[in-house]
Symmetry: C2
Subunit: 173 residues, 2 copies
DNA sequence: CGCAAGAATATGAATTCGCATGTTTCTGCC
DNA sequence: GGCAGAAACATGCGAATTCATATTCTTGCG
């Protein structure tokens, strides 16, 4: 969903006895959506859509990445990223340049204004993150990040959690 | 992105010194995407799309929810949820019935086959979750879930983290 | 009662997204 | 050198998603 929060009462799931309220993947998605939607309001205020911000952030970290690389990093599908880069190029935030060594590759560079806006939003993102972390218990955020990296790592480069190790519905028979 | 993982080498972000690799919202999105994409493969194998699975799961927890409620819970925007329910109704997984007390409301109920498929997938989801948790340190998963609920709670019913408490870029001047 | 306001859904047009595929450019090997 | 095969992007198109708005029904109140 990931859009402007409607700020209603907000149904609380997590305290119920149902499955969903305690399901890891649900909690991940819910927390991610909620927190991101909040920041995306600020991104929109700057005239960007969420995916554009992600790209800007990734390029701020490392300028001149190739499209495929950038797509993986920014969690955007390749053909889609190509289209977003188009728009951003029109807006004057980035520019393409094909790699001299390997002309199949297209590298994406920030323009000056892209770099500026990126830096500004990264700073805002940092502040936003601090405002969240400040409301957690000391050390909780660090543990959280570690756990998230851990989960993410499980699926990188492996093609997912080894299926062989998974139980089947019949296992506990 | 949230689709079928391409099982490539997978660029590792988290070890880099950049901003993104340590940014909480990024880690949340990345972990959520990666883990969910894995399970969604199984959902697809059952002929469902990801959003349909979420709805099925929510209804399995509590049948007969109203559309708005269900939308919030399943993290799907309302008008979109309406359309998905349409399709699911065609597939014979759910059926609508307008609330007798308040005829503006439409309640969504599982059909028998919907309940069956839901139960099956919930079981698969539990197994999938176990396969993840098993690869974490003892207790890590519990801490993770608590932290996620915590974050989610920050944005429920409040209209987001109190902006007044947030720093501005100038604060640390 | 009769109405203004608001709540709950549905609908339609406009975007965004993702999959399949085409094109161009490398690479390894014969 | 010349080719088969893979890699990296771009494109086309259909499906998914969103935003704004219409519709239907309820509620509180003058």
């Amino acid at each position: 969903m990931n859009t402007i929060a409607k700020k209603q009462e907000g149904v609380d799931v997590s305290d119920s006895k149902g499955f969903v309220g305690g399901y890891l993947l649900y909690l991940l998605a819910a927390a991610s959506d909620a927190a991101s939607a909040d920041f995306h309001a600020r991104v929109r205020a700057r005239g960007l859509k969420a995916p554009e911000w992600r790209i800007l952030a990734c390029l701020s970290d490392e300028d001149g990445q190739m499209v495929t690389q950038l797509a993986q990093l920014s969690l955007i599908e390749q053909s889609h990223l190509t289209k977003i880069v188009d728009q951003m190029a029109v807006k004057g935030l980035v520019k393409r340049r094909s790699d001299a060594r390997d002309r199949r590759r297209v590298r994406v560079y920030l323009t000056d204004s892209g770099r500026l806006l990126g830096a500004e939003l990264v700073e805002a993102a940092r502040a936003h993150e601090r405002s969240i972390v400040r409301q957690m218990r000391p050390g909780e955020a660090a543990l959280l990040k570690e756990a998230l990296k851990h989960i993410h790592a499980l699926y990188r480069a492996g093609g997912g959690v080894p299926v062989a190790l998974e139980e089947t519905e019949e296992t506990s028979r």
